[in-house]
Amino acid sequence: MRGWFLPLAVAFGFIFLYAPIVSLVVFSFNESRLVTVWGGFSTRWYGELLRDRQILGSAWISLQVAFASATLATVIGTLGAFVLTRFSSFTGRLLLTGMITAPLVMPEVITGLSLLLLFVSMELTLGWPAGRGLTTIIIAHTTFCAAFVAVIAQSRLRSMDESLEEAARDLGAGPVRVFFDVTLPVIAPALVAGWLLAFTLSLDDLVIASFVSGPGASTLPMVIFSKVRLGVSPDINALATIIIGFVLVAVLIAGWLMRRALRKGG
């Protein structure tokens, strides 16, 4: 029983996970305009993609948004996690504990809508942010990505030997010094992982971005989604293949960094 069951289960697992992706990659090299009919090998859709200003522009916007919001989310999430793990009692601790993870469970539609309402009323009362666009998307993504970073950073901070921080304190470092000299380097691998996760989440998000974006600031998922509604065109396959390639490389690098950090005994 065990002889054939295990390999079969593994095979099914792989097919289930990767068959759609493989077919997408294969069809990105399809000569034919019809997405489901093989018409011979070609790279023409890649060429077409590079001439598509709309897609390139939105890809650039998406990367900017992802980079900025992942970075901001890492800073905010780490600070939140640090406060929650290292300060035992302060006013509003319970509220912060609950709120920092709220975006994880909140339906995206609600997050998007509430942020949209916030931005509109802020514009009316404060005059900032003027209209919706890049800034509002970055703020919105930072909000929900920070929650993910906070969860990762919190678990790392909890598992970290606190006597390391006490030792630095004991040797004459003030609290801020201790954070930058000891805490930050020790939890750095987790923060890199958190940043990468935030980056991917931001790159991936369609719903929240649709709510808070304005004219002239469409992210890549928004453009793809609007194109697909008019029928799937093969250049989307090509785009998807490139994204898969990027993600694969990023994941491999992240995994390698984490493994090395673990070996170093972080």
Partner: protein, 377 residues
């Protein structure tokens, strides 16, 4: 750096009016409803190697952490070298601590770990690394200066932790179970090395340990703790020979306890009527009244075991060897007296070709009157 203490001053706690270097007065620490340290008074003198001994959860680590500044006392005062420590944060205290987990910074090399404290003092890089190297030479690790902590063995890590804690020349070094993570052989070697380093530098050490052998070997004085209180403070010999309670007698080494009442008091002799042994004769002890409930404590090695009835000893009983354990340098016995009482006795095996007393033999046990310690609690 102070000179090693001169002979006359090696036991300042025995001298009336000596000024303590560290004094802990009425210190209490509460965590919510739980009292970890309860109204502790402690005076420690310069260049002492003081051991806080107790089971886990007795408050010894909390007391140490209050000295280091990681915990604030709920009430009471701690002064080090005449300076009140109440408002001094850990990074400003003249103390350094060696952690149980060693707490070496994993992302720094050995020499960076050791130099870290000196750099925080604002020393120039070259000076700091020079002094770190000097300290590493002292703990015989100069060859491993460029390694990271995870490339070291447990014993090497322990030395790095010690070097890092000593390099700032603290007035007081706090050591939390310094040898706890080492195996038995290495622990014994390291004990003596620790004493040597302490004597060379003249730094005052406070060591927290649950290991009584370690405390007995290392300490100039021991403070035995229980439930947040200090039960007894004394030199190792005092703690062992004149414990002040059944707890201390039982905690340090093993002991036979016999409950009884003071039966008769004469100028040169006292008699206790015990439940287990009947009347026992021993030297008089001050502060006891007729009819008072007391416990007689005898260490196992103070019993003499023989096949024939010993002469000239008042406290003699007959029994049968029920258990016998040969350890090598000594043998342990459990002897059942005719009234059913079990006595723990031991004998050192001084002769190689001795015919050892063994299981089921009928024996006589006797004990000198002076071997008894009378306890009132």
């Amino acid at each position: 750096m102070s000179q090693p203490a001169i002979a006359a001053d090696t036991k300042p706690w025995r001298r009336e009016g000596a000024t303590p270097f560290i004094s802990v007065r009425g210190v209490t620490k509460q965590f919510g409803d739980f009292t970890a340290v309860a109204d502790v008074d402690l005076e420690i003198y310069k260049s002492e190697l003081f051991c806080l001994l107790g089971e886990s959860g007795c408050g010894k680590s909390t007391l140490l952490r209050m000295l280091a500044g990681f915990e604030q006392a709920t009430s009471g005062t701690i002064t080090i070298d005449g300076e009140d420590m109440a408002r001094v944060p850990p990074d400003r205290r003249p103390t350094n601590m060696m952690f149980q987990s060693y707490a070496l910074f994993p992302h720094m090399t050995v020499e960076k770990n050791v130099a870290y404290g000196l750099l925080r003092e604002g020393l120039k890089k070259s000076v700091a690394y020079e002094r770190a190297a000097e300290m590493l030479r002292m703990v015989k690790l100069e060859k491993l200066a460029r390694r990271r902590p995870d490339q070291l063995s447990g014993g090497q890590r322990q030395r790095v932790a010690l070097a890092r804690a000593l390099v700032k020349r603290p007035k007081l070094l706090l050591l939390d179970e310094p040898l706890g993570a080492l195996d038995k052989k290495l622990r014994e070697e390291t004990q003596f090395e620790l004493i040597k380093i302490q004597e060379t530098l003249g730094v005052t050490f406070i060591v927290v340990t649950h290991d009584q052998d370690e405390a007995m070997t290392l300490a100039t004085r021991i403070g035995v703790m229980k439930d947040g209180k200090i039960e007894q403070i004394g030199e190792p010999r005092e703690i062992y020979e004149t414990p002040n309670s059944r707890f201390v007698a039982d905690f340090i080494g093993s002991v036979n306890l016999f409950e009884g009442k003071v039966d008769a008091v004469a100028p040169d002799m006292m008699r206790i009527e015990t439940y287990e042994l009947g009347p026992v004769l021993l030297p008089p002890q001050a502060g006891l009244t007729l009819g008072q409930q007391v416990w007689g404590a005898v260490r196992p090695e103070r019993f003499a075991i023989s096949r024939s009835k010993p002469e000239n000893t008042p406290n003699t009983w007959q029994g049968v060897v029920e258990e016998m354990g040969y350890i090598g340098h000594m043998s342990q016995y459990r002897i059942r007296l005719s009234n059913g009482v079990l006595i723990r006795a031991s004998q050192s095996n001084r002769l190689r070709d001795e015919d050892p007393i063994s299981w089921d033999e009928k024996v006589w046990i006797s004990v000198q009157p002076s071997a008894f310690r009378v306890l009132t609690r």
